[in-house]
Amino acid sequence: MVGIKSYGAYIPRYRMNHNTIFMAVAFLGTFPPPGENAVANHDEDTLTMAVAAGIDCVSGMKREAVDGLYLATTSQPYMVRQNSALVATALDLQSNIRTADFVGSTKSGTTALLSALDTVKGEMSSNILVCASDCRLSKPGSPQESLYGDGAASLLVGSDDVIATFEGSYSVSYDFPDRWRASGEKFEHAWEDRFIRDSGYSQFISEVISGLLKKYNLNIKDFTKIVYPGLYAREHGAIAKRLGADPGQLQDTLLSTVGDTGSASPLMMLIAALEDAKPGDKILVTSFGNGGDALFFQVTEKIESVANKRAVKKHLNSKKDLASYEKYLAFRNLAPMDLGMRGEMSMRTPMSALFRERKVVLALCGSKCKKCGTPQYPYQRVCVNPDCGAIDQMEDYRFSDKKGVVFTYTGDNLAASIDPPSVYGLVDFDGGGRYWFDFTDCDLDSVKVGMQVEMTFRRRYVDESSGVHGYSWKATPIRA
């Protein structure tokens, strides 16, 4: 049976309380509801979060078995240069795989999932990793600012050992102009909220769920959990009532803890539902955006063997309050900040070198000496072990999934950074290998020699002069 084999998620460490936003932009007449949003760090974006969710999803599995990667988002950094191919490279997937970007609508997450299920059903691929991720830029003071949160969800679709079987789907599509962003524009435009709620949200979700129930001759009460985004809290409950569902069937929308994560939102809620699911549970997942998709899953006994996923729960509990709205603006490059002249020296990416070194730079791969067994980063042709020194006796070795310990570190106030001090240090990897890396998602005071760290894929720089978003790996304290 085709279905979901594994799940993973990513929620950034920073949360911004809506009150922080309110205090900053209340003069504009913005009154956000209570709660907080997950806020990407300055070195995170859609792709870094997609990679993090993907790692959570495939952890403990053979990555060689993954033969497709579908990325869903509405906030992709590149319009040309396939974002999913970049994510697949960072995940160190094989090159003989199918990659595709699903963009332009917040329903793209479920559409990518449906496409993956179809692809596997059609026996065109065996294991497709679906990553849905959004890190949307909101205009300061806009309603979206407190509504949108940053995060990513990932599901591995396959036909064996599934934890939830795919039972059916129903879709509706409308050119619904609730929100739009034309090519080249930085911020979204939005029509009046009441129009979005009454003509879109409430209508489409009811329509797509009713359509699914009718198509498969189901009753809403058949579902253990019903997942659909909660853009409007009161209407979220009202839809369920009209459909005849009990409030207890509704999956928490994560709206006041993470925010609306766009294309990732329904999948993240599905993952949260799977975290609590029991064999036999039926789960209905619905997206909203230019219509919507409804998908129906049934949980299998395999659910009980899922282990070591951070998914939604662990990420929710691992957080740090971002108390400064000004810092948030700086992180998003929404207010020009002085980094000093040192900060004005930008990186000009040599693309041919980046492609040549893609495994080293984007996948954090080094080499392991076949003669003495020493792992080394970056890839070396001459073994670094002084007692070995073998030449060209190397095999590829991936460091991104290795943990390590802090060998030494500093917090640098001279280095240009939007979030000084710049923390970096040397990491000794479990199993061998040492290199220096930037550290992220940590406070200088919390870093200690000998502390355990893991590696995280991050945005290194944005070179606006040549339109390049540069990425590499950083070390971070073990998250959750």
Binding site: T408, D412, L414, A415, W436, D438, G470
Partner: protein, 400 residues
């Protein structure tokens, strides 16, 4: 079996500009100033110079590539001029080239001149830029600065030897107090103010745990030397200074990428030092080296260098620092001219600046009576270019 350089080459003249933030001086001005003092000291004319070696590191900030900046500025008459660049060992590399040039018999008289004009960048600290360590590093390395890279050695030293941050910072503060004392008494030094341990400890943090006074000056300056074969030296002056050892050691990659290096010392300094002592015939460096100018780009660098050069036992430098061993009136004065810390650090000139101080001290001509050390016999200079896990170390020993 190689014989080494000992007593084959002598320094017959040296020059060194005042170091500092010399807004009114170009790199070319500094080169002329150092050269003028140098040939006057040697008692020679430009036409006596057979070949020259020219050291500059951040050429893009000042003179540009190649060695023509030296030949054009000094109007050298179509003689061979070679540019050297090896991070902070650049000046010593120029000196090494000149020494080997005359030692080989290819030339009678050679010039080594180093210069750096750092204060045309518009910001504090050394010139930066993502490509300092090459294209691949620019794509994967942390955004390192020099203070950050050396701060990591302090963090590590504290951890390896069980010093809490307060103890560690106090040990390092004493290093800087001494250098400021010496710099304050040196008219050519960049930073000429004495500071207290408390001032140092309370100063703003540049890169944890290093504060402002743990970092050396970023300066403009130039220094030069004229060398000749030892057998000719007395023709030029009665008190030539003999070259006893010239060594250079470079990281093999194992510090950064293998896991055996302890991070609390600099392997190249230790290895280079061992070779230099062998070349010079020094058996007990703690007793035989009268004085040294070492690469105190940061206070921690000087501290570990004392151990790597075997002036202090491993892990015990704190005791020597506390006992005042390296003070101007101590048994083994270090940085008598103020060091990089206070004399300043124009990269390409620093190695030659250190030699200038050793040369003058050995000749008993340290300008002011209160600066002159008592009867030094052997002086050592040490440069560390790059970062503790990947670097170039140059060591020179000169003596009477």
């Amino acid at each position: 079996m190689a014989e080494g350089i000992k007593d084959k080459v002598a320094i017959i003249g040296m020059g060194c500009t005042k170091f500092g933030e010399l807004w009114d001086k170009s790199a070319e001005d500094l080169m002329v100033d150092a050269f003028k003092e140098c040939i006057e000291d040697a008692g020679i004319e430009k036409k006596d110079i057979d070949a020259a070696w020219f050291g500059v590191h951040f050429e893009e900030q000042s003179v540009g590539k190649g060695a023509t900046p030296l030949s054009l500025t000094l109007k050298l008459p179509f003689i061979p001029v070679t540019r050297t660049e090896n991070f902070c060992a650049t000046g010593t590399e120029a000196f090494r080239g000149a020494c080997y040039g005359v030692a080989s018999g290819a030339y009678d008289v050679a010039l080594a001149l180093g210069v750096e004009k750092l204060k045309d960048t518009g910001y504090g600290g050394l010139p930066g830029g993502p490509n300092l360590l090459g294209t691949k590093s620019a794509l994967i390395n942390p955004k390192l600065t020099a203070p950050g890279a050396f701060a990591m050695m302090a963090t590590r030293y504290f951890a390896v030897y069980g010093l809490n941050p307060e103890e560690g910072k106090r040990m390092l503060a004493k290093v800087s107090v001494k250098s400021h004392y010496n710099g304050a008494r040196n008219p050519k030094a960049h930073l000429r103010r004495e500071v207290t341990e408390e001032q140092i400890i309370k100063a703003p943090i540049i890169a944890w745990p290093l504060g402002l006074f743990d970092c050396c000056g970023v300066s403009d300056g130039s220094a030069a030397a004229i060398v000749t074969r030892a057998d000719m030296a007395k023709k030029f002056r009665p008190d030539p200074i003999s070259v006893k050892a010239l060594q250079i050691a470079l990281s093999s990659g194992e510090e950064l990428m293998y896991t055996k290096w302890d991070g609390a010392h600099v392997e190249t300094t230790y290895r280079g030092g061992m070779r230099a002592y062998k070349e010079a015939g020094v058996k007990n460096p703690r007793e035989e080296i009268s004085m040294a100018e070492v690469h105190d780009c940061f206070s921690i660098t000087e501290a570990v260098t004392m151990e790597d050069l075997q002036f202090s036992p491993r892990g015990k430098v704190k005791e020597d620092i506390e006992a005042g061993r390296f003070n101007h009136d101590g048994p083994q004065p270090i940085q008598p001219d103020g060091g990089l810390k206070c004399f300043g650090h124009p990269i390409g000139a620093s190695g030659l600046r250190m030699l200038y101080e050793m040369y003058k001290q050995l000749q008993g001509k340290a300008q002011l009576p209160e600066r002159q050390l008592k009867n030094p016999k052997l002086g050592l200079t040490h440069n560390l270019g790059g970062f503790p896990p990947m670097n170039i170390v140059s060591i020179a020993i000169i003596g009477l």
